[in-house]
Symmetry: C2
Subunit: 470 residues, 2 copies
């Protein structure tokens, strides 16, 4: 078979690429291995957010008495019912991608694709030649080999949401974004949860001041064993997990030690480009191109920014760069944004603090443990830090563990993407009482250290251009 | 007594002015009538948000079963306990302003100020002469005279939070921002609530499409009688309130028909400037100056934008413009922003749609009743509308009734304040799954109608300036 373009993978990146490819050709095939659908909808963002929503609703009962709400003593999570809703919601979210093969007809091929060289692939034993190849094979949870001996007592995000029920004691190994989200949710649903990680970090937080604020908040809900490798041992039906500072007997273990790109069997070694020790070629994030070839590696599979919105952008970029005659140096990537849906939420906008040159920046912070609106809601906790260029006040980055961080992080993202200064951002209205006032506190803190800071948020008024008040 | 500057009123506007006045003089007095403190902390934003928070927490029990949470049958609000927490929180929030008189010593005067003419005031029978006068006497709830006959069964926001308990049936007259917030909160706490308004509006919504989406959501929780004046009648201990479409027998009535500026007895008529039929002089919002006099009328008292953040800005502006030798045409006001803390929340950014010239604008909308993240949270409802200049795509205004509108409205405020276009805003990252993706849907809808819209959110990349992916 000979086609203009092959897309490998029908996840977020592949389907986003498909949209662009169709702008320039109908002569394409989409090859997908296994279930047609996105990681996000099937086993990622959507089921985890559904679990977290139920967990947070259930956890709220602990605030009821203080609010003046009585009768919550009998409130408890019915784990099978919670998981059933997760699957019900998920089944709705996966419907779109599941319908793709039918819509594409012969241009959709179920099977595993393997590169045979530039412009050539093997799919189900057939050879496909193509002018352009867009590779979006996705990623899968890492599961260390020895742990497989524990059979179905070892869960990953691929299997967790398929469980009809969960046992009482769960160890979560890996306290990155996914580990923290799920561990806290399971604890809030009434399970006994312990979290383990080889390093002394949580939720991918880079800024130590943010981590210092976040850790005790998580530790109040989950036993944490951070900073040493976790060892698993079978002890009479239970799994004893031993890590930094102690051990925990679990009925099941969730492995949340990361996801790995599905490139092992992709044939990248046939392309004649240098590969690193993990078999990964170097890729320009503005073009997603492998070397100078009309071959693109996008989405989770390139390990660059394994997030849905980035996968969608990468599909968009690759689909454009794959067009016949496409020129240019690619499309600029958006401001980096990551959000962890814990309580409080964790978010980072822009580069991590550790990658900012400390001498040129000025930082400001806001303590949300006393923030007025959050105190009203009994969610007051955490810290928000903002970093700007010392000379100009231009906003560079922010990291936070605060209530509604998902919203405050979008606000910071807009400001940073638009290359605003602290003063630009302080010119916006801040309503009262809102969590954004906490963010304003951090901005004002930054402003104190900016060389060019002025004395008022408001600009001088032109002689015309404002209304009379009548 | 002769001083450089007199400030009348120790609320948000007055205390904000005080901060600026102290930059240029110590020769001032602050005169305050009644309780020292802000409307916001004592009887406004803070107690109402505390009530709403408890009400929403209690209401959440109706979602428990769908989430898989059992045992909520006995959950109920203990009204005296809810109100006790409101007062406890409020007592914390009012502490700051209450400490002002002690800190200012002789420069704080308790009493009612009345202008005797430009540069002259009467306070407690003493005359004060001043170079500059900043008037921030605040506002009070409107209470129609005939309703006073019902005694303490007629509540306002001044008395509501002082109640030890509340009777079962409450009529709320006036379905503006405050009326809708309190009526919904009381209904969610288990009381029987009916809402009345002379006009067929809700929560100050201007855009009829937003109102059409909002009304059924409120009507599902509260009986509404909109579009006709409310008549009160004593019927054997109860108050029968009759309005559009029917009547309701109430044990108490909350009058929420607006707030009126405290200018009736201020002596503005002695200044020799024109007053309208309500006794209000014309005031330039950029200077807050009364005529050409060194006299400023700020905060709720001028009726321009009776909101805390605006009162703070007005104090700031007046304090700067009152300084000896101050020149210039004033300070530009921020983008208008209003938020109603109902469920879903209502918000408006920029001018109301009815004040935008319809021929020059393009509008986009997003239906939040199907928004994915909101469906997960069982909060999916409402609509968000964005308006931009047709020719340039510059964002002008937005109005919405959606979950977390308080956050989406701040995002829109930053974009509008910074004079961004739709394309500028679409360049920011939108995480997944978040409510901001709903807002992006409305932006994309706007972009379709913008003359200059392009095909990608992402900009062409410069040959340098992006990182290689390794």
């Amino acid at each position: 078979m000979k086609v203009d373009t092959v897309i490998v993978g029908a996840g977020t990146a592949g389907l986003s690429a498909l949209r662009e490819v169709r702008r320039y050709t109908d002569d394409f095939v989409l090859v997908n291995d296994g279930h047609w659908g996105t990681t996000c909808a099937a086993v990622g963002c959507m089921p985890s957010k559904t679990l977290i929503e139920a967990a947070n609703a259930c956890h709220r009962r602990h605030d009821f008495d203080e609010f003046g709400i009585r009768g919550a003593e009998a409130v408890r999570a019915d784990i099978p019912a919670v998981l059933a809703r997760v699957r019900k919601m998920r089944d709705g979210f996966v419907k779109g991608p599941e319908a793709v093969p039918e819509k594409l007809g012969e241009r959709a091929i179920s099977g595993r694709a393997r590169l045979l060289g530039p412009g050539r692939l093997d799919v189900n034993g057939d050879q496909i030649e193509a002018r352009a190849i867009i590779l979006a094979p996705g990623s899968r949870p890492v599961l260390p080999g020895p742990w497989r001996a524990f059979g179905d007592r070892i869960l990953t995000t691929d299997s967790l949401f398929e469980q009809v029920d969960l046992p009482r004691r769960i160890a979560v190994i890996g306290m990155g974004a996914i580990g923290v989200e799920i561990a806290q949710a399971l604890a809030r649903l009434g399970l006994d949860v312990a979290g383990f990680d080889a390093v002394a970090g949580l939720a991918g937080i880079d800024d130590n001041e943010v981590l210092a604020a976040f850790r005790p908040l998580i530790e109040a809900e989950i036993a944490l064993h951070l900073g040493g490798p976790a060892e698993l041992e079978d002890v009479g039906g239970a799994i004893r997990v031993t890590g930094a500072g102690g051990s925990f007997e679990a009925d099941a273990v969730l492995a949340a030690v990361g996801r790995q790109p599905n490139i092992d069997d992709l044939g990248l070694d046939t392309l004649g480009v240098p590969l690193d020790d993990k078999g990964m070629p170097e890729i320009d994030p503005a073009t997603l191109r492998v070397g100078d070839l009309p071959i693109f590696l996008i989405g989770d599979a390139n390990g660059y920014r394994p997030l849905l919105h980035e996968a969608a952008d990468e599909g968009h970029i690759a689909g454009r760069m794959a067009a016949p005659g496409a020129t240019g140096t690619g499309l600029c990537r958006r401001t980096a944004l990551s959000i962890v849906f814990s309580s409080p939420q964790v978010a980072r906008v822009g580069p991590p603090l550790s990658e900012l040159g400390a001498t040129q920046i000025v930082s400001g912070s806001a303590d949300f443990s006393k923030q007025a609106r959050a105190r009203i809601a009994r969610t007051a906790a955490g810290v928000l830090r903002i970093h700007a260029e010392r000379e100009t006040g231009r906003l560079l980055a922010a990291e936070m563990c605060v209530p509604a961080a998902e919203h405050l992080a979008h606000l910071m993202s807009l400001a940073i993407e638009a290359r605003m200064t602290v003063a630009d951002m302080l010119a916006m209205p801040f309503y009262h009482p809102v969590l954004e006032e906490g963010l304003r506190g951090a901005l004002r803190d930054v402003a104190k250290g900016v060389a060019s800071a002025g004395g008022s948020d408001l600009s001088d008024c032109k002689a015309i251009g404002h209304d009379a008040l009548d």
